[in-house]
């Protein structure tokens, strides 16, 4: 019987869960496989985070700060679980870390293993990984973190930048039929950043639908009205190199006509997938996954943050594509559910 909670994953959801457990006075261990805390936004050096559009560092730093030096909370980086046995109330977890292996007991586990970006090389028509000036949103985040936006091939400032939405999402041919939910908003933000860094740049977004849902609708209005970002309806079929530029081919479905327009830089809105860590942890803990591979909650309404396996709780983008602020909210929620679970067992 253990009173501690193991949190797997040190991204926004895991960090929020850890800080919340510390606030509740519950003992916890946070395990992160990367050398640094902060999850995917940190790993890929995101530029700005939705919805506040503050630099990602400003958003992540307080999340990390909240878990440092907290009583009863251990934080392990460069570490991952390799085996789990036992059951709710008394899980035995083997961890592999920089200092070697160790075993610890946990009464409950919170899985916050996050997501991975779709690997755009899998959608070969866009030439990602072949043409250096075809980048994905992850690359673009890093490029926008620099003071000046330069295109990879020759370091020049791109004058015409295009975004292709729904790369690796909503596409049976690449195996992902769901919407990744964040890319429309992220691309609007990136498009605005391109314009802010170089107001004379022309920025086009090729879209099927714009899904900046809810209050984020504003992002798309702003991109269009304040910054003159242009939206072209239709999916790009193919990108080919021509005379040092990228020739972008497609059908404009509003005009019902073909286009073949040169661009300096093309950004692929590569969507979200359950990451390798999520897959591994699901196997270790015997967690159910929904048809797209994300972790499945026990019940979407009565137990949205609980796995079907007793004593295991879920939070963040390993459940479904989502923004970091939603992941943070879920982390705190999962912490409360885990604490309540331990208390109910102790009372028994």
């Amino acid at each position: 019987m253990s009173e501690a909670v193991l949190i797997i994953g040190g991204g926004p959801a895991g960090l929020a869960a850890a800080a919340s457990l510390a606030d509740l006075g519950v003992e916890a261990v946070l395990v992160e496989k990367e050398p640094e805390l902060g999850g995917t936004p940190k790993k890929y050096a995101y530029s700005k985070l939705v919805p506040d559009l503050r630099p990602a560092q400003e958003t992540l730093a307080p999340l990390v700060q909240r878990v440092q030096g907290r009583e009863g909370l251990r934080v392990l980086t460069d570490a991952r679980p390799t085996a789990v046995s036992g059951k709710a109330g008394d899980f035995k977890v083997r961890l592999a870390g920089p200092a070697g292996e160790e075993e610890l007991s946990a009464g409950a586990i919170i899985v916050a293993t996050g997501f991975e970006h779709f690997d755009a090389r899998r959608d070969t028509k866009y030439g990602y990984g072949i043409y250096p000036d075809v980048v994905d949103i992850r690359d673009m985040e890093r490029m926008l973190s620099e003071p000046q936006l330069k295109r990879p091939s020759d370091g020049q400032v791109p004058q015409r930048v295009g975004f292709i939405l729904c790369v690796g999402s909503r596409d049976r041919m690449v195996g992902n039929t769901y919407c990744s939910r964040v890319c429309c908003s992220v691309c609007c933000v990136q498009a605005i950043e391109v314009k802010e860094k170089n107001p004379s740049a022309e920025v086009y977004i090729f879209y099927m639908d714009i899904r900046t849902y809810g209050l984020l609708e504003n992002l798309y209005w702003e991109a269009q009205e304040e910054h003159g970002v242009l939206f072209v309806k239709g999916r790009v079929g193919e990108i080919l190199p021509r005379d040092g530029q990228l020739m972008v081919k497609g059908e404009d479905t509003l005009l019902r006509g073909p286009f073949e327009v040169p661009f300096d830089l093309m950004v692929l809105a590569s969507g979200m997938e359950p990451g390798e860590g999520t897959v591994q942890v699901a196997e270790l803990l015997n967690l159910a996954r929904e048809p797209n591979g994300f972790l499945a909650p026990r019940d979407s309404h009565t137990a949205p943050l609980e796995a079907a396996v007793e004593g295991v709780f879920l939070a963040g983008a390993d459940l479904a594509p989502k923004f970091s602020d939603d992941a943070v909210a879920e982390g705190a929620g999962a912490a409360v559910r885990a604490a309540a679970f331990l208390r109910s067992r102790a009372g028994r």
Binding site: R170, D171, M173, K233, G237, E251, R256, P258
Partner: protein
């Protein structure tokens, strides 16, 4: 007359949807246009595989509207099928519709197939696709202005060719009788003769006569052997 047209419209739509391939070819459509972005015909014609799928989803009037010229603008390269996020196959739909047009002997099919009637004649009667005497301006108007000249004194000109030409202008080479027999059987059993009958009755008759003659000659030869 309008009744006939309505019936034809309805029948074509039903034939299309009854085709066992159809439901694999049309699953759903987001109007994303990626198929058309690849389509080589779209660069030249107001033709879009996206519209092919949309028309299928819209019903019989729109499908019927494609039977005249639209389905013949497709190059049958199937790029559309390769990239469609829904895994639709617009080119496959066009293939089914072309088959329907040919089966029903529609005007558009007859027009498109006209040059092929010469090819068909050769295949059925000599077992070759092309022969020196078949390139006639009426059937192959796009083959260049020198054709009428080339057709004059054709046999004489063939003799000038320094390699063996079988001294024939009707066929490129001789095909064995057993092969001809096989070809005939395949075409007959596969229903090709029926399709030719529908689209070009004159051609069907010429082929049939030729085959009859050849069969008769063959039987006579066999009888002589015995």
């Amino acid at each position: 007359m309008p009744d006939d047209k309505d019936r034809e419209k309805h029948e074509i739509f039903e034939e299309l949807r009854a085709d066992p391939r159809y439901h694999d070819f049309v699953r759903g459509c987001l109007n994303c246009g990626v198929c058309t972005g690849w389509c080589p015909s779209h660069r030249f014609f107001d033709y879009a595989p996206r519209i092919v799928i949309q028309n299928c989803l819209a019903g019989e009037d729109r499908v019927y509207g494609m039977m005249g010229e639209y389905i013949w603008a497709c190059a049958q390269c199937f790029s559309c099928a390769m990239v469609c996020p829904f895994n639709n196959n617009p080119g496959g739909v066009v293939a089914i519709l072309r088959e329907i047009a040919v089966r029903r002997g529609m005007m558009s099919a007859k027009r498109v197939l006209k040059p092929y009637s010469r090819v068909l004649l050769k295949v059925m009667t000599f077992g070759n696709q092309v022969s020196p005497d078949m390139i006639q301006p009426d059937f192959f108007p796009d083959w260049g202005p020198k054709i009428p000249w080339a057709q004059e004194d054709l046999e004489l000109k063939r003799q000038a060719i320094p390699v063996p030409t079988l001294r024939t202008v009707e066929s490129a080479w001789k095909v064995a009788e057993s092969t001809m027999n096989e070809l005939y059987t395949i075409n007959k059993e596969a229903g090709i003769f029926d399709l030719v009958e529908v689209n070009d009755p004159g051609l069907a008759e010429v082929i049939e006569d030729d085959v009859q003659d050849k069969v008769a000659a063959y039987l006579a030869e066999e009888a002589k052997k015995e």
